[in-house]
Assembly symmetry: C2
Homo-oligomer: 104 residues x 2
């Protein structure tokens, strides 16, 4: 019996990693072939194997949220290789200080 | 001639990866053996090879900052496997909305 695959439309992860996209592929529900950039970003920053491990570590109903936050984090790191998400956090903290000063 | 190493005090990275800590080790300036948890965190979330690549991609005088932000990010992800740094960003954005509402 042939092994079931998503061969007609391999997910973005399997396409980038040049591997068969099996039906139980951990990436395919979250990395559509229509948005290859999302997987490319998390692959560059975290590595495919770490992304897979991190997804398996969270309950299935929270994996889509985990993917969104990983993609956001990876893009922040690619945009700002020194501070990544920390750059966003610093800016928000600064905005809070300004608002608090206005209020006091 | 023996190859120069940091053999007496291998850095936290080389200790965890069980390898010789050469004098040109990319991790040793940033991951002291006295704080093993820092490297353990970035290793778990990003992987040693990605951390090394990300460090090499930034100018030397910014690498200490890059390490701090990577350690922060990794710890946020370990603490909150679904949202990581995004959880912190959501909370700050919420605080900003509350302050803005107070001001208006």
């Amino acid at each position: 019996m042939a092994l079931a695959t998503n061969a007609c439309t391999p997910c973005a992860a399997c396409k980038l990693l040049r591997r068969r996209c099996a039906q139980e592929c951990p990436f395919s529900p979250y990395f559509s072939s229509h948005e290859p950039q999302k997987f490319a970003s998390v692959h560059k920053v975290f590595g495919a194997s770490n992304v897979s491990k991190m997804l398996m570590d969270v309950p299935e109903n929270q994996r889509a949220d985990a993917v969104s936050s990983l993609v956001y984090e990876a893009n922040a790191r690619i945009r700002d290789p020194v501070y990544g998400c920390m750059g966003v956090i610093y800016a928000l903290q600064q905005q809070i200080r300004l608002l608090q000063a206005e209020l006091s």
